[in-house]
């Protein structure tokens, strides 16, 4: 049985606008599924339907074996949710919020305090637990939000852009937590606009654009579809370009006139392991390399190949892959 199964899921608003326009996806138990797309693509709308906060206007979705439309209460018992905005009560302390959440999820009264302490310690908020949430930093609120989503050991965890606005350290902490959850067997549905996050954490990625899934697969498989890694080379002085091409042809397909400041590009299946041999071969041929850059296809390349535009989370648009 799939942890999440979605078929022709749709959400149309009264204005006629379709935020989600018939998507299909399947997430296996224990998988980390990355749902990637730019702002306004339909990620949050999809999540809100799957966690029973929004009613689908078409299609079907089951989470942990229960239909979100006809068995929402059963779905809620098995999911944990950390939404895009950390939904916390700023007047309560961290501990009070955790204990309330535990109560709302039916944890026996005698276990509430211990369970709350467990999770608070796990996310590193023990020292701050008796302070009001209104005094917490953004990173602390996110951690508390995550802890609340985990208090009842859900089968499926939904994280909607969990690291947006966080500093690198907090982001890394959250990533570690996701990896730990995966090791524990929790299914994680993670929406993000950050390529690196999807790349690092997800077993499989679905890319959504304008309400439709445009690509789905493992990060590597998706990237392989759009190209191979290549080395961009820039030579010093009046380099013998025909000779350089000859040398490089022994490593892979060579391209000229790729981007500004690059003399030649060569496709290298081995990735970074190819850098030293290539430089050595060119050096032996009397060609001095001034600059070398390993360029690997990114999920942004995948998105661009499907939609013609780039994801907003991409740092800079990647050079065209070979």
């Amino acid at each position: 049985m799939a942890a999440i199964e979605v078929s022709a899921l749709e959400r149309e608003y009264r204005s006629g606008f379709k935020a989600v326009d018939g998507i299909d996806l399947r997430v296996e138990p224990g998988e980390v599924y990355g749902f990637l797309g730019p702002n306004g693509a339909g990620k949050t709308t999809t999540v809100r339907m799957l966690v029973t906060l929004l009613r689908p206007t078409g299609g079907r979705a089951t989470v942990a074996g229960h239909d979100v439309a006809t068995e929402p209460q059963k779905v809620r018992r098995k999911i944990g949710v950390a939404l895009q905005e950390a939904a916390l009560d700023h007047l309560m302390t961290g501990r009070e919020l955790m204990e309330l959440q535990a109560t709302l999820h039916g944890i026996p009264a005698r276990s509430v305090a211990d369970r709350a302490q467990d999770l608070i310690g796990r996310v590193g908020l023990s020292d701050a637990q008796d302070r009001r949430v209104g005094t917490y930093s953004g990173g602390m609120r996110r951690r508390l939000d995550l802890a609340m989503a985990l208090i009842h050991a859900p089968e499926v965890l939904f994280l909607d852009e969990p690291t947006t606005g966080l500093d690198p350290t907090s982001r890394a902490t959250l990533w570690d937590e996701v990896r730990r959850l995966k090791a524990d067997g929790t299914t994680v549905f993670l929406t993000t606009q950050y390529l690196e996050e999807a790349d690092q954490l997800a077993d499989r990625v679905g890319i959504i654009s304008a309400g439709k899934i445009v690509a789905e697969g493992t990060p590597q498989a998706l990237k392989d579809e759009v190209g191979r890694p290549h080395l961009d080379l820039c030579f010093v002085g009046d380099a013998d370009l025909p000779r350089a091409r000859e040398v490089l042809a022994g490593f892979g397909e060579v391209r000229v006139d790729t981007v500004d400041g690059v003399d030649l590009s060569v496709g290298v299946l081995e990735g970074s392991r190819a850098i030293a041999p290539v430089i050595r071969a060119l050096d032996e041929a009397g060609i001095v390399v001034g600059r070398v850059e390993l360029v690997e296809p990114t999920l942004d390349d995948v998105f661009a190949a499907q939609t013609g535009s780039h994801l907003e989370g991409a740092a800079t648009p990647a050079p065209t892959a070979i």
Binding site: R48, L53, R77, V81, L83, D89, L91, M92, L104, A109
Partner: protein
């Protein structure tokens, strides 16, 4: 999980949370008692001689007459405050967290209404103490005080349900706050502040059908006269009517919100 004991536990946990939130934000609680207190002071200070007007019921002082009005006004403002708290919860996203939890849907409304009942009891206590300090007395004794609490708490819950219903439909705190003038209008069109026989037309006619008249009269008569079955029954019935109507509207508003989400 599930069943009446789980529901009770959840409702109580949410009620405790609401009460705690109110106590931690005294600047929101203060208008519930300060504004009606000011009004009470000015009414008594400015119009105390009106007790000598022909047709005014026999009272020991105008303060005795006005206490029930101040309590009713305070409870109405409390209803607006309940609505504002609900709207802020919706705006801030915590309401979504509650909706995504496996709790009975009615708990979303009941928890806050129980908190409103507790706050109402506090408001009534405040005004009874203020009244006693400044020379009022409750002719009905302990029984009279009990009647005031009974009618006042039921009415307070009803007003809270109205506030919640508006918040669930409007979803914005500033919209809920904007109904405050309307609340005053309804209160003025009743016999809360002055005997019905001495109201000007057409307010006297409107007051006859306004549940606030019976609620405030039901709380007033034990103070100025003693516990009489008619006024008690009318007061309780009117308060229950408000609870039933407002509660129904609140549940419908909740269903509508969950459906339209």
């Amino acid at each position: 999980m599930g069943g009446p004991s789980f529901t009770a536990r959840v409702v109580w946990a949410l009620a405790r949370r609401s009460i705690r939130g109110s106590l931690r934000r005294p600047q929101f609680l203060a208008p519930l008692v300060i504004f009606p207190s000011m009004f009470l002071a000015v009414n008594v200070g400015g119009l105390t001689r009106t007790t000598s007007l022909p047709g005014f019921p026999a009272v020991d002082g105008f303060l005795d007459f006005q206490l029930a009005a101040a309590i009713t006004q305070s409870l109405l403002i409390g209803g607006v405050a309940t609505g504002i708290a609900t709207a802020l919860e919706i705006e801030g996203g915590f309401f979504d967290r509650l909706v995504a939890s496996p709790i009975p849907r009615t708990a979303l409304v009941l928890g806050r209404l129980i908190a409103t009942a507790v706050t109402s009891a506090g408001q009534i206590t405040y005004f009874l103490i203020i009244g006693l300090i400044f020379g009022a007395s409750v002719k009905g004794g302990i029984a009279g005080v009990a009647v005031v609490y009974l009618i006042g708490i039921i009415a307070g819950v009803g007003f809270g349900a109205i506030g919640q219903a508006i918040a669930l439909r409007a979803k914005s705190a500033s919209t809920v706050q904007g109904i405050f003038p309307l609340v005053l209008v309804v209160l003025f069109a009743s016999s809360a502040f002055f005997p019905r026989e001495l109201l000007s037309s057409p307010v006297d006619v409107v007051a006859k059908y306004n549940p606030l008249s019976y609620i405030s009269d039901g709380m007033r008569n034990p103070i100025i006269d003693g516990v009489g079955s008619t006024s008690v029954l009318e007061g309780v019935a009117s308060a229950l009517l408000v609870v039933a109507a407002a509660g129904g509207v609140a549940v419908l508003a909740l269903r509508g919100r969950l459906r339209d989400a």
